[in-house]
Amino acid sequence: MLPYMIKRLVSLTISLMAASLVIFFVIEVVPGDPASFMLGLNASPETVAALRDSLGLNAPAPMRYWQWITGLVQGEFGISYTYKVPVSELIADRFWVSMPLSVYALMLSTAIAFPVGVIAAARRNSPTDVSIMGVTQLGVAVPNFWFAMLLVLLFSITLRWFSAGGFPGWEAGFFACMKALTLPAIALALPQASILARVMRSSLLDTLGEDFVRTARAKGLTRRQALWRHALRNALIPVLTIIGLQFSFLLAGAIIIENVFFLPGLGRLVFQSITQRDLIVVKSVIFLLVFAVILVTFIVDVTYAIVDPRLRRARA
């Protein structure tokens, strides 16, 4: 197990380095001079020079990259050009809206998709299966932000069960916050759950056709027992991959959904920063999100090893 973990950790670090290089390149090298880009066309050369100075842009690019990375490791993201406060402060509050929303949605999506996928596979070609497949086919096609609007229309405007948006802040208490995040999380989770349920079903049907399931039946297990004890755990392996991929979609989706519900998350911050051309904030937020995606990939890899003993072997 340990060599496998080390190998995954090494590849995690390499991915992070490469991702940070890409971000740095696109945001700081491609525009030419970020300072004049940020200030726009009408800025005087003196102000541009001053900003360049304060941002340390006179240093060569590799140097700036090094400073950025060393800063990141210490939790220093730099100073926001528009807000004049440390970016880490700006991000911290908003992070605690976006991240809980994504995780909430991921949990919802998994909690719905697993049983639905298993039931559909267990009752293959039954009316239950056919209707599940039909509903999920539709679910896959629904854009989450539009679904969010429909939810607002139904639950906030018509039924008045939830407020149409806003976030009370964590000091208002856990339940108040979770309530504010519930509609957004449902809007994010249901389309993803449709995908996941379909993957779960087809993966389970694949494994049900494996030789070892036939062996289990020959031992005297019922269809149901063979499914639960033998097929399910093997079917999880491809499902895990999809869950890992889904997290990145959920994170991206959360950024969009925040707009529907007026949630003060990273999405709102990054869109404001784009309008204000605050590249420092944009750079930091993107790095943070990419970091989250890569971290989840790592977690999925480790989970593989727990599910599949073949990976646990020292094949580093």
Binding site: K219, L221, P309, A314
Partner: protein, 548 residues
């Protein structure tokens, strides 16, 4: 009363009959061999007994186990019966076990499902079962996972699951087909021992007449979903009432008749392999150690003369496939040299040029993956023309394609068909045509008849012998099947762990093996005539005992 009786068993899938009026019987302590070629319905019979038929299958008939009419059993009753009164062993041990569960848990599950025993007790019984099948505790603790085990060991685990509760009947469906011959001998011996110890009845399903002649007390021959002949093993082989039985028997023992025409240069060396080495890098043990090497082929030398057929035998992992790939120049050699027709074919850091390459062609094992499904036969067999410096013109091309097809017993009109229109045997003929078309000096036959049914195999062997006689082509015939090698080759090499351990004229090696490994291989190979003789001798001895 018989332990298992099947009467008038009919199975059909969506209206297509698969089994017709099948009747079989097995007594306790007795082995029934069910023999047939692919598609004969022998596996379907087994699944019908277990009532594990695919969805959409309809069946009727009587299946009685110890007097109980299984056709009246509900699915729940059958679950209680499977694994408890009937055990089953399958063909493919590599996929028959759940990869994410320990072998102990998988064997213990049989016990837990059928009895109210505690987990501890179940694991104790599982341990006992694993010990019985030759997986002792010190080397095979209960917490091993299947991926740690070889194919033969996995098959032992499957057998342990099947016999853990000492069932009355054991069904073994081609239990040794995927295994090497020495492993096959061990598994067959184990099955025989278990039948004797527990007084089980066993149904042994196989395509191999030699295996049943050795193992079975009674035999049923199946063809196209029907039992064409059944009876006591010795009597059945002695009488062979049904023509299909006779043709199967003949095909299994088939030796092509040879009649080489005199061709100038016959016997002159074609290929000379000297001191060839193939290493594979092993995965690094840790980040800091240098990667190791696995020597798959270790200083192998061999020579083949014009018109000569040389066999290369050995078990899986012995390096024969790696050597084949080196001779085909698919992989480079690390050291040593391969010479062809006197010139250097390949050596370390140097591969063959086009003209050299042209002179070595190949026929692979699997007729179904040997052809690009999108090309027509003419394009498929003309592929090696790529190696000619000057492409033949349309007419020449046409003529040579026709000639190649006729040479392998097909029609020129077949050139315009697609590969899916042909059977496995016909496809193998097309593969031979593809190898022949640019008149190579050597054709490598890589398990070229191993995937074929015996009757088709006999035809292909005849074709190969005929081509070799007429055209003086040389073959390197690679196979794990000793009887086939004996039938077709002049000389044979035995390979083990990357080295050639014995070499000589085929008949000499088979009659007087010198190396202990060759002896072991030959002893493990079931031979139909010898098995029958031994069985007759035993029958005679016990008959004398009974009458005196």
């Amino acid at each position: 009363m018989a332990l298992l009786e099947i009467e008038k068993l009919n199975v059909s899938i969506k209206g297509t009959p698969i089994l017709r009026d099948v009747g079989l019987g097995v007594d306790a302590g007795e082995v029934l061999g069910v023999v047939g070629e692919s598609g004969s319905g022998k596996s379907m019979t087994a699944m019908a007994i277990m009532q594990l038929l695919p969805v959409g299958t309809e069946w009727n008939g009587a299946v009685r186990l110890g007097g109980k009419a299984l056709e009246t059993f509900s699915e729940k009753d059958m679950c209680a019966l499977r694994g408890n009164e009937i055990g089953m062993v399958f063909q493919e041990p590599m996929t028959a076990l759940n990869p994410v569960q320990t072998i102990g848990d998988q064997v213990a599950e049989t016990i837990l499902v059928h009895s109210g025993k505690s987990r501890r007790e179940a694991r104790r019984i599982a341990r006992e079962a694993l010990n019985r099948v030759g997986l002792p505790e010190d080397r095979f603790p209960l917490d091993r996972y299947p991926h740690d085990l070889s194919g033969g060991q996995r098959q032992r685990v499957v057998i342990a699951m099947a016999i853990a509760l000492r069932p009355k009947l054991l069904i073994a469906d081609e239990p040794t087909t995927a295994l090497d011959v020495t492993t096959q001998a061990q598994i067959l011996k184990l099955l025989k021992k278990l039948v004797d110890e527990d007084g089980m009845g066993m149904i042994l399903i196989t395509h191999d007449l030699a295996v049943v002649a050795d193992m079975a007390d009674h035999i049923a021959i199946m063809k196209d979903g029907e039992v064409v002949e059944a009876g006591d093993t010795v009597t059945l082989f002695r009488e062979m009432k049904h023509p299909y039985t006779r043709s199967l028997f003949e095909a299994s023992n088939h030796v092509p008749s040879r009649n080489p025409v005199n061709v100038p240069g016959r016997g002159k060396p074609v290929i000379e392999v000297s001191g060839v080495v193939r290493d594979y890098p092993l995965p690094r043990r840790s980040l800091f150690s240098a990667p190791g090497h696995f020597r798959a082929v270790d200083h192998v030398s061999l020579a083949i003369g014009r018109g000569e057929n040389v066999g290369l035998v050995g078990e899986s992992g012995c390096g024969k496939s790696t050597l084949t790939r080196a001779i085909l120049a698919l992989d480079p050699v690390q050291s040593g040299e391969i010479k062809l027709d006197g010139g250097v074919f390949s050596t370390h850091g140097h591969g063959p040029d086009r003209d050299m390459r042209r002179r070595v062609q190949v026929v692979f094992q699997d007729p179904y993956s040997s052809f690009n499904p999108r090309h027509r036969v003419d394009r498929l067999i003309a592929e090696p023309f790529f190696l000619l410096d000057e492409q033949p013109d349309r007419e020449e091309r046409h003529r040579r394609i026709n000639e190649a097809l006729v040479n392998v017993g097909l029609q020129p009109s077949d050139a315009h068909k697609y590969i899916h229109e042909f059977s496995g045997g016909q496809r193998q003929r097309i593969a031979i045509a593809r190898a022949l078309i640019i008149e190579p000096s050597l054709i490598v036959l890589d398990e070229a008849v191993s995937a074929l049914d015996v009757s088709i195999r006999a035809q292909i062997l005849d074709l190969l012998a005929d081509l070799s006689d007429r055209l003086a082509i040389s073959y390197l015939f690679i196979s794990h099947d000793l009887s086939v090698v004996r039938a077709i080759t002049d000389r044979v090499l035995v390979m083990k762990s990357g080295k050639v351990v014995e070499e000589g004229l085929t008949e000499d090696v088979f009659r007087n093996p010198r190396h202990p490994y060759t002896k072991e291989l030959l002893a493990a190979t079931p031979v139909l005539d010898e098995a029958l003789k031994a069985r007759e001798a035993r029958a005679a001895a016990s008959g004398l005992g009974a009458s005196s």
